[in-house]
């Protein structure tokens, strides 16, 4: 018990929590935007993998770190466009199309990486983002070290939570997006085009997912290797449900999840005799448990996974 308390009292744990949460925050916001518009995007796992690859590759080829992030967003939006074309105007199964996008995006990432990058014994590396101490705030004891000396994209992720919440709840465009996810017929009646709204939502959401992937290779690590996303995309899909499709709750979910992950990583080094696989299983099991706990109360967008065809009920 005291071991657990000791771990919780270190600022480095909380610094790690925010770092682990960052890709999840990007991913969960991306998935949330897609789903609030009525489109489930199971392409997330592959889009994160591809974002991780192209973001890293841009920097490896001499680009700026932020340029890498921008390229990842662009490529993610292209994948989102493909998913949107298949599921919105064509109205294909969002489940199967999403899985197809995941297979395609991750296969493309591995193929192009193998094609363009000379891999020796170890994967080549780049110089990743360095922690940025916020002037003033970072000298607050404990809190400064835990919260205000993060990698720059982490601050971006936190600001994005506020922006997305404001956009969805306080702007006309956000209202139209939410309405498209609840009742696209009403959107049409308002003279808006539900297809166009869904396509844009999926593209923007996919761009954020790719950003989450790019964080892995340009900030959390410094190289790209296959299977590095490790189910984070699927965990984001679970977190959206856990968060009841609300950005603020999504942030809390991502932080709780990251806290658990950082905590078990540290516990692994202290507790002996427990196989490490049990610790690694815990996040996936936890996600399933979280889904079961909230399943009954979840407020699913009414038109989620319902293709909209004009004049058809």
């Amino acid at each position: 018990m005291t071991v657990a308390l000791d771990i919780l009292m270190t600022a480095s744990l909380w610094e790690a929590v925010l770092r682990i949460a960052t890709p999840l925050i990007f991913g969960v916001l991306g998935a949330l935007i897609c789903e609030r518009a009525g489109v489930l995007n199971l392409g997330i796992e592959g889009i994160m993998t591809l974002g991780a690859m192209v973001g890293w590759l841009t920097v490896y080829w001499g680009g700026d770190l932020w340029l890498g992030m921008a390229v990842a967003v662009l490529v993610g939006m292209m994948m989102g466009w493909l998913h949107a074309m298949l599921t919105v105007p064509l109205g294909l199964s969002q489940h199967v199309s999403g899985l197809g996008i995941t297979l395609l995006a991750s296969a493309l990432a591995y193929y192009l990486y193998r094609l363009w990058v000379e891999v020796g014994d170890l994967p080549p590396t780049i110089v990743p983002f360095q922690p940025l101490a916020v002037p003033g705030l970072s000298s607050i004891p404990f809190l400064g070290e835990a919260v205000f000396t993060q990698m720059p994209p982490t601050y971006v992720a936190l600001i994005l939570v506020v922006l997305v919440a404001w956009f969805l709840n306080r702007t006309p465009a956000g209202l139209a997006l939410r309405m498209t996810g609840e009742n696209p017929h009403a959107v049409e009646a308002q003279g808006l085009n539900p297809h166009r709204i869904r396509i844009w939502a999926v593209m923007v959401g996919s761009g954020l997912m790719a950003l989450g992937g790019a964080f892995l290779t340009t900030a959390a690590f410094n190289s790209f290797f296959p299977t590095m996303v490790q189910g984070r995309g699927w965990i984001c899909i679970a977190l959206v449900v856990f968060a009841s499709w609300r950005p603020g709750k999504a942030l809390i979910g991502a932080l709780l999840f990251a806290l658990f992950d950082a905590f078990q990583l540290r516990l692994q080094t202290v507790v002996e005799g427990v196989p490490y696989q049990l610790f690694l299983m815990a996040p996936y099991v936890l996600s399933i448990v979280a889904l079961v706990l909230v399943a009954r109360r979840a407020r699913v967008p009414e038109a989620l996974m319902q293709p909209y065809r004009r004049g058809e009920r």
């Binding site: 298949l86 489940h95 197809g100 297979l103 591995y110 696989q277 889904l291």
Partner: protein, 349 residues
């Protein structure tokens, strides 16, 4: 522009759809091959040669297709009832583990057919349990099974790691994390001498035939179809939805588990954490390319196996990364979705 359902769907269009999808995928991926500085004609030629060019190549392709038929069937029977089992990979590993555990010691001494039957049942039960968990979570709590089956794949693979480094670890493997081997007498006999091709292929094809019969000729087959097409109407017509979906889950998970068992009893002999080159996920593509039909599953499995075995050989000959196989498979899946749409719907302008 609007899209509406065709009054009559032509069977020809449905049969042509997968061929169109595959052709489209090969054309699109030709660009990626050209980016590697290799002529697509040469690359595809090498792939065909690598998959069918010699006796050994043909047997390797069919060896690869055997578990794919079963994971493909696993996805197909589940998808038909709209049970989105994406956990074939994890169920495959659970079946493989059960086969190794039973085949190493438990059933040794039993007469052969009985020993195989016990192993097959054990592997199917192991796979079925892994799918029953998410299926019951959906039926009881309304938890989406796509996410839970996907997450359980990671749990299952870690569990395999736990076992092959723990209680099932082979002490004779020089410290490598691999499971104890199945007893030599229990390995499936070869179909073709001096090859890895084993009777598992015959078993898989027979199972496909049985599934076909069950779906076409039994009440259970009709009930799964009804539960998939319109659960509300099916329930009103007296179909027990919960029981039907639970049975489908047992069948689907069992088939994926059986795939793991024949891979262990057939070419490999033991379990490692890299036993499956994605058989579970490829099974989903197989099922979609087959339009969920059992006969189509057999054909699509051979196609997907061709791509993978061929791509390995082609990669060695030309230097094009063998990941091109995964790209072709993914594009074929997406193209198949579009092709099926145009077979069943038409565009009105």
């Amino acid at each position: 522009m609007r899209i509406e359902r065709r009054e009559e769907v032509s069977v020809t269009a449905l049969i042509l759809a997968p061929f169109g999808a595959v052709l489209g995928a090969l054309v699109l991926c030709a660009g990626l091959i050209a980016m590697a500085g290799v002529s697509p004609w040469v690359a595809y030629g090498e792939m065909l040669r690598g998959a069918f060019g010699s006796r050994l190549a043909v047997t390797e392709t069919l060896t690869r297709a055997s578990p794919l038929i079963l994971t493909g069937l696993a996805a197909a029977v589940a998808f038909r009832a709209r049970l989105w089992n994406i956990g074939g990979e994890g169920q495959f590993y659970m079946g493989a583990l059960a086969a190794a555990a039973l085949g190493h010691s438990v059933v040794v001494g039993l007469p052969l057919p009985a020993a195989w039957a016990v192993i097959a049942l054990g592997a199917m039960a192991a796979g079925a349990v892994l799918l029953l968990i998410p299926a019951l979570l959906r039926l009881r709590f309304g938890v989406d099974e796509v996410v839970t089956t996907l997450l359980l794949n990671f749990v299952a693979l870690l569990f395999v790691g736990l076992m092959v480094e723990g209680v099932l670890k082979d002490p004779m493997a020089f410290g490598w994390p691999q499971s104890v081997p199945v007893a030599a007498g229990l390995r499936l006999p070869d179909l073709v001498p001096r090859s890895r091709l084993h009777v598992g292929l015959v078993l898989a094809v027979i199972v496909a035939g049985i599934i076909w019969l069950v779906q076409a000729r039994t009440v259970f087959g009709a009930q799964t179809r009804a539960a998939g097409l319109n659960p509300g109407a099916a329930a009103f017509a007296g179909v027990p939805i919960t029981a039907t979906l639970a049975k489908v889950a047992i069948l689907s998970g069992g088939l994926a588990g059986l795939a793991g068992a024949i891979e262990v009893l057939g070419p490999v002999g033991y379990v490692t954490t890299t036993l499956s080159p994605g058989f579970g996920y490829a099974g989903i593509v197989v099922a979609m390319l087959a339009a969920l039909h059992p006969a189509g599953v057999v054909a699509a499995s051979v196609f997907v196996a061709t791509i993978f075995v061929g791509a390995d050989a082609m990669s060695r000959a030309t230097g094009v990364p063998s990941f091109i196989a995964d790209v072709i498979m993914a594009v074929a899946l997406l193209a198949m979705l579009v092709a099926l749409l145009f077979a069943t719907y038409r565009v009105r302008t």
